[in-house]
Symmetry: C2
Subunit: 121 residues, 2 copies
């Protein structure tokens, strides 16, 4: 007996805003809307964790201890960073220093995530 991973849950003050961002960022689809939340899932035939975005009243106040690491798919790291900036992400400084191979970004509510270089793929 153990626990099996079911999904990721993301708090949001503005659920549609984050659902829109993450749908486009990950090329996901809206799987369900329930009780003010929006559940996202990979498109048919693709792998990735379901992402359930739930409303909370309070804004983000500290760096998340848990974050997503992503790899560019069909483009370079630089191109993907530019695309995500255009979608509403921002570059984030979590003290990572100038010499790391990944780019730290944050979604429109400040949730940090990283774009890996993909060089080891």
């Amino acid at each position: 007996m153990s626990s099996r991973f079911s999904s990721l849950a993301l708090d949001a003050v503005n659920v549609p805003l984050l659902a829109g961002f993450w749908t486009r960022a990950l090329d996901y689809r809206v799987a369900e809307e329930l009780d003010g939340g929006i559940s996202l899932a990979p498109r048919n035939g693709f792998l990735g964790p379901p992402l359930d975005i739930f409303p909370v009243p309070e804004p983000k106040t500290a760096k998340n201890r848990l974050h997503l690491d992503l790899v560019p798919d069909g483009c370079t790291q630089e191109e993907e960073v530019e695309r995500l900036l255009a979608l509403g992400a921002v570059l984030a400084d979590v003290g990572q220093g100038p010499d790391v191979s990944w780019v730290v970004m944050a979604d429109p509510e400040g949730n940090e995530f990283c774009i890996l270089s993909g060089r080891t793929e």
Copy 2:
């Protein structure tokens, strides 16, 4: 072009402590140890996101905006909660109220996660 999910990254003050907890909680295996971090992955033939646990100096100060939702596998929700408590998890109050179907817990460094009822599985 888009971003493809690669892995989850979890900050830890005590990397071996959290790696041990999450290995047992999810029945994962240690996939790699690098630069003080420990990467966990599902055992062969099982699905689930890779979980990379990285050292950070600062302890957790606020509720995580992103958390894992888990379902009991091979046992009831109550049995799984008891098992996780024995592994070092604690029950957590994030204001969820008494009538929800899930149980909110936190790992040994306070990272919240939920055990779903599994009734809809």
